[in-house]
Assembly symmetry: C3
């Protein structure tokens, strides 16, 4: 039981996909098991983070820019991989420390996320990208249709 | 086959849960498969790290404080999400780069951890918290009872 | 269905293991499911990153050295865990923010990696090490042999 989620991005941002994922699990009659999500790219990430205050996302993106500044920042003049633009290598650095794959326990078809947890695709590049997230559910399927 | 582990925390620290997890696997007759653990919070983390010298944990916590200092540090005056205290947003930053979910191969009911690996819940907030870790084992169950 | 991959390292470097993993999946008749890889060490990591330009790997290693400098760097004089050499504790710090376990969706026996994604073992220590990666495939096995 698997699918691919598509997210169109237009620069660094956190895109919440929690609702889309929950809807797919429901339609697929997932019952008890584990959901695996993997982003098929090396300059964008998946992340489970707070879904209440959008300032958390803004602060996270700004902090990542301070930890891994653009290649045209004087502190990053030593970078080698710069031919695709100043945002390219820092995007790979951010993607190395944020998750590429995440796993979520599923019980009775519902993701066991905490109250404040949302699933995000985090874009690190400046240019628009079409991002793919590969999803697999492993476990038991519901038999409610036949009840 | 799933459960929830509870850890009561009282400020930044690494709490080892390896023994508790191993006991649960044994009681549940887990045989061969994969264990998934996910923390249901956005300001605390799960981590597999060295279980021998406690200095490793102390150094890790201090380093995280240097990479993501509290909001009342002059270098962090740009943070927006500060209403819940100076330790709040840095906790989210630390939780973004340390794991929220981890997976451990299980063989004959035993976690395939290396000799020096322990499983830790890492608290990033100053105030006491009751943390939940959702656990699922996927795979074959032992038939030893009937042997 | 599980195995252990061995990688011999000789200092900080990224070792690609994508081909070895793909070959094992093929030989094992894996069909649809999820592959879990876990490194059994606390001073080396697993990582999915770009497999095209080797400068990405060089830049990543240099950046990690800047974020977590060796213990003999003046900025790291506060480190406690230093008895095993200046590269020891920084290796644990790097291993805390890079993945210890990764998951990859498998469809028809093929890893659903993106075009530019490779699987790497990242060594953080200076001395040679023999590293073990524990692998488990969960899912359906191919029946092509009996077709």
């Amino acid at each position: 039981m698997r699918t691919t989620f598509i997210v169109e991005t237009t620069g660094p941002a956190c895109h919440e996909i929690t609702g889309e994922v929950a809807t797919w699990l429901k339609r697929s009659d997932a019952a008890d098991g584990v959901l695996t999500l993997m982003i098929r790219h090396t300059s964008a990430s998946l992340l489970i983070q707070e879904n209440a205050d959008p300032d958390v996302q803004a602060d996270l993106l700004d902090w990542l820019d301070r930890v891994a500044p653009p290649a045209d920042d004087p502190s990053m003049s030593w970078l080698r991989h710069v031919s695709e633009g100043p945002d390219d290598m820092p995007a790979h650095l951010k993607a190395s420390v944020l998750p590429t794959s995440i796993q979520i326990p599923i019980a009775d078809g519902v993701m066991q996320l905490g109250r404040w947890q949302g699933i995000y695709l985090v874009e690190h590049r400046d240019a628009p990208h079409r991002r793919q997230v590969s999803a697999v559910f492993l476990g038991d399927r519901s038999t409610r249709k036949s009840r």
